[in-house]
Symmetry: C2
Subunit: 209 residues, 2 copies
DNA sequence: TGTACATCAGTGAACGCGCGTTCACTGATGTAC
DNA sequence: TGTACATCAGTGAACGCGCGTTCACTGATGTAC
């Protein structure tokens, strides 16, 4: 986003600190949104958690809605980078096992920063504007593709379809476990989802005709 | 909730209209909550949609939070009664097929009043108080049991575990499809979930030890 | 290199608004006798 | 059965509050010459 003059020169205006501030707002907001929900977190919460005052926000973003889009994009980037990192060099079967575990247990250890918007803010994303929903769907697609790639290496047919179903199962299970009033119920929901998902990972050839 | 005097007599005070009003508030609120989200719907929205003014609400309920609990309870009752009705006399396999279809397509036809809180208000329930979350978990358990009962009749082992996983898949898929920016994506998510779920319905005996 | 100026990130008070809830009041209902 | 009274469902204005956003301002930075 650069400003051009009539003569065509480019204004070099940004101090590096500006970009750092913007990033701090994004990552702070992302964490708060995922933990408490989009509507439950106010601009003052975000800005003061980022060590700023409310007015400064609008030097970086047009609106809360724009921030929601950017913060969720960042959350997906953060999550996927972690998945890539944690499965580097692993076999497809090991990689699948790993990310299923990491995804399902994302909200089981307090302070975890690798949370998925699909399960943490769930239905709230559906009430946002087009841009936010596009970001959510891109994030979902990246998850699906990640799983599908590894399923294909296991020789599974219909990898994309299965991966899509598995992502629905994971997102649903984490969302449901978050509303459990006790830890035992939460664990049971996650365990049952894990068992069901693993059924689809046993390496076998596609059925005949 | 009856009022006792010092002498122990019971005041019989309720006109039948009072109960009707309460029910109207509950069903109106339930519909609005499911369509627009818990936080997005205000007391004035609910009361005016029920043909009342805001103040009257507190003759029936202690708080918005209490209404959320009661309205979601009502939504589960409504949904489960419809499932029972639509599967009456059907074989276990047919019954499963029917409720999978009804659940997955709940938000595909406008104006449908059979919506599940688990997928429609998802993560928001997790940020509510204990009572609301207990209601959500009871609702989930009823769904799980409904599916498990029919799975058992198909001779499936681990019916409860499978049913729990299937409910996670269904709730996740509907939630995700609700945030799709276009109908094609929404349909694909639901279809993929349906395919994955049906894998678990093929009648077969438990694997040997 | 030094000086004058323009930019703009960040401040913090204020805006208008809608939220959940309260409250004094109304008037129809049910009870007491 | 008729009259006097108590109850309480429902009204609608008002309360205090926090929301997202705006705005005049400050002061450090970068640019022009």
């Amino acid at each position: 986003m650069q400003i051009f003059f009539e003569r065509g020169e480019v204004m070099r205006r940004s101090r590096s600190a500006t970009a750092e501030t913007r990033e701090r707002i994004v990552s702070t907001a992302s964490g708060l949104f995922l933990k408490k929900g989009l509507e439950a977190v106010g601009m003052r919460d975000i800005m003061s958690a980022a060590g700023l005052t409310p007015g400064g926000f609008y030097r970086h973003f047009e609106s809360k809605e724009e921030l929601i889009a950017v913060a969720n994009q960042a959350a997906f980037d953060h999550l996927m980078a972690m998945f890539e990192d944690r499965t580097k060099g692993k076999s497809p079967a090991e990689a699948l096992e790993t990310i299923i575990f990491l995804y399902l247990n994302q909200s089981q250890h307090e302070g975890n920063t690798y949370l998925c918007p699909l399960s943490m803010v769930g239905a709230e994303l559906g009430h946002c504007g087009l841009k936010v929903r596009e970001v959510a769907m891109e994030g979902r697609q990246r998850l699906v593709q990640f799983v599908a790639d590894r399923l294909m290496h296991l020789g599974k047919s219909e990898a994309l379809t299965t991966a899509s179903g598995v992502v629905s199962t994971m997102a649903g299970a984490v969302m449901l476990s978050n509303m459990a009033p006790d830890q035992a119920t939460a664990s049971a929901i996650l365990k049952d989802a894990q068992v069901l998902i693993k059924t689809h990972f046993a390496p076998k050839k596609p059925r005949k005709g």
